[in-house]
């Protein structure tokens, strides 16, 4: 019984982390039609900045805020300087599909290697800001702690805030319009490029949050070649695709679904099935609903 409850809790918590990453990927996708592999790199860099802040200011929350701001800033710079140049040079042909992916992959490698050169490859650690000891109910300790509660809440808050932004504000409308039909949006007076950069900035902040929150949740160790960040990106991407890449709700649902399925398979079947399960889940979802859980069958194809 408690194994079941714990498995659900594990699934929800890891699902929340994947959701944060998926939200970031969906944001960039919706505003630029680019899958941003550098997301992991930017999250890594932001988390390092957060680590430095913790060393200086001794406050995790302040560091989290600064990391998110830094993440937003880095993403904005990447978009306005890097991606815009890229799109100007590469607008048609088969390269158009592949170039952004490759470019962002290159950026990921650059950030990692750069961090390694300047900061060194040794592990540094980020301690959790709140206790990571599980809550206890009638003698049994759950796989759910204040830290994990924070993570889940963060994902929820972010999703809510972004949904409100997208559906109820002018900026949100501009974001959606710029992604859907840049020419018409431009005609309507929307500064498409700037809005797009804003989308990237928000994604950068979300990615930074994912990194800062996941690091103390995992082993607590942070290093430039943490495999954890790459895996986070891959699983976040799978979560986003499951969710349909079109809506933030989809990203959250996709993340939760992935987290829960993985948790159950690992606990009840076998610990070595991690990677296969993610793949099989994706295949099943795409077979049943090729546009993802919340995707819409749309005329425009990427």
């Amino acid at each position: 019984m408690y194994q079941f409850i714990n498995t659900v809790l594990i699934g929800v918590t890891s699902g929340a982390i994947y959701s944060l990453m998926a939200i970031a990927l969906v944001l960039v996708w919706r505003s630029t039609r680019v899958v941003n592999f550098a997301q992991a790199g930017m999250a890594l860099l932001s988390t390092y900045i957060g680590y430095e802040c913790i060393q200086r200011f001794h406050s995790f929350w302040l560091a989290l805020l600064i990391a998110m701001i830094a993440g937003a800033g880095i993403a904005a710079v990447v978009d306005s300087v890097f991606m815009r140049t890229l799109f100007r040079r590469v607008s048609h042909g088969p390269i158009a599909g592949v170039a952004p992916i490759i470019a962002t992959l290159g950026l990921l490698g650059l950030i990692r290697a750069g961090l390694g050169l300047f900061v060194g490859n040794a592990d540094v650690s980020i301690r959790p800001p709140v206790s990571n000891i599980g809550y206890t109910i009638s003698g049994h300790t759950l796989a759910f702690s204040p830290l994990k509660l924070v993570i889940v809440c963060a994902a929820m808050i972010l999703m809510l805030a972004l949904s409100i932004l997208f559906s109820k504000t002018n900026i949100g409308l501009s974001l959606r319009a710029s992604a859907f039909s840049p020419e018409i949006a431009r005609l309507a007076g929307v500064k498409v490029d700037r809005i797009r950069t804003l989308g990237w900035a928000i994604a950068g902040a979300a990615g930074a949050a994912a990194g800062m929150l996941q690091t103390p949740n995992g082993t607590g160790a942070l290093s430039p070649d943490s495999l954890d960040f790459s895996l986070l990106l891959v699983f976040g991407f799978i979560a986003a695709v499951i969710g349909g890449l079109e809506s933030l709700l989809g990203a959250v649902l996709g993340g939760l679904l992935l987290g829960l399925v993985l948790a159950f398979v690992l606990t009840y079947i076998s610990g070595s099935l991690v990677f296969i399960t993610a793949f099989v889940l994706l295949i099943i979802v795409l077979l049943v609903r090729p546009q993802g859980i919340i995707g819409m069958k749309r005329g425009r194809r990427a």
Binding site: V35, L86, P94, I101, R112, I238, A278
Partner: protein
């Protein structure tokens, strides 16, 4: 018609000459270079499969490493359990991967851009670990794939790595020659038509789904051959031989080569093999501190990649052609 025939013959001649040149070269260089040559040949085959899929057919696969894995495992299994000669094992590798590609391609035809990317990514991550579940696939430590020592009549000095180089180079020459044929055939024209404008192609009577699936199948078959060659050079197949970074390296090589044309494939493969070497040499000059040696290769490759994508996005070959066309244009339109 006669013109095409003679061109075909000329191309065949060219490949034979290239083969002889490689043979002579293989005798002159030391063992490390020969081993790198085998790896180079493998990359040539693998990158060409990406160029076919993405450059000519417009589909993006983030996980072509999985196709290499299928080919590699097929070759190893048929060698270990059925005891078949090496060339048959390689052929089985091609067929197995092509079959998988046909299946994936049919599904892929239904998926658009990022969904296809996501699926292939998950495949690359998930497929190798399937080996852990079935003991016949050897688990984490994998299977042995020993193509055997070079034949005795080549002499006692003929090293194992040189033998790999011969086999790999021959496979690459045959693969590229065959691929060039296909690309210049009706199928190649169909693919380029679909890539250019799907609606127009369909109006012209081309079946989009079939065309794309065929491209996927052929591309996967080539990847399977590359997988077999890769397995040969490291004498094993295991999940860790086909990591996600392999798929990304192939994409990188394809972009460096110029994804829309086959001519640059050697450049892409060469860069993949040479850059770590150059990085190593540079870091040695810079004093060999641990930090530098660990991170410099990655830095160089990533920086190179970004530069190429920004400055020469269509690949050096296309860029060169455009440059020549433009200067020709300028000269004739003075």
């Amino acid at each position: 018609m006669p013109r095409i025939k003679s061109t075909n013959f000329t191309r065949l001649l060219f490949f034979i000459v290239l083969g002889v040149a490689l043979f002579l070269l293989g005798n002159r260089v030391d063992e490390l270079r020969v081993y790198q040559g085998a790896t180079l040949a493998m990359y040539v085959i693998a990158i060409s499969s990406i160029i076919l899929l993405t450059g000519y057919s417009g589909q993006v696969s983030l996980g072509h490493g999985a196709m290499l894995a299928i080919g590699g495992y097929a070759a190893a299994l048929s060698h270990e359990h059925l005891g078949l000669p090496i060339w048959i094992c390689f052929s089985i590798a091609v067929l197995a991967a092509a079959a998988a590609g046909a299946v994936l391609g049919t599904a892929a035809a239904r998926l658009s851009g990022p969904y296809l990317a996501g699926t292939t990514l998950a495949l690359a991550v998930g497929l190798p670990s399937i080996a852990n579940q079935f003991p016949i696939l050897g688990g984490e430590q994998g299977l042995l794939f020993d193509v055997g020592a070079p034949p005795a009549r080549l002499g006692a000095d003929f090293t194992q790595y040189k033998w790999y180089f011969w086999i790999a180079a021959l496979a690459a020459l045959i693969a590229i020659w065959w691929l060039q044929n296909i690309l210049r055939s009706r199928y190649g024209r169909t693919w380029r038509a679909v890539r250019g404008n799907e609606v127009a192609a369909e109006l012209a009577g081309i079946h989009i789904g079939k065309s794309k699936t065929l491209a996927f199948t052929v591309s996967s078959g080539l990847a399977g051959l590359a997988g077999g060659v890769l397995a040969m050079t490291i004498s094993t197949v295991s999940p860790s031989a086909f990591p996600l970074s392999l798929s990304f390296s192939l994409l990188t090589g394809a972009v460096l080569a110029g994804v829309s044309t086959l001519s640059g494939v050697i450049i892409g493969a060469l860069t993949l093999v040479a850059t770590p070497e150059i990085a190593d040499a540079i870091s040695r000059r810079l004093g060999n501190s641990e930090n530098v040696t660990t991170n410099l290769p990655g830095l160089l490759v990533s920086a190179l990649l970004i530069l190429v994508v920004l400055l020469v996005p269509n690949g050096p070959v296309e860029q060169w052609r455009k440059f020549r066309a433009r200067s020709l244009h300028e000269v004739t339109h003075r």
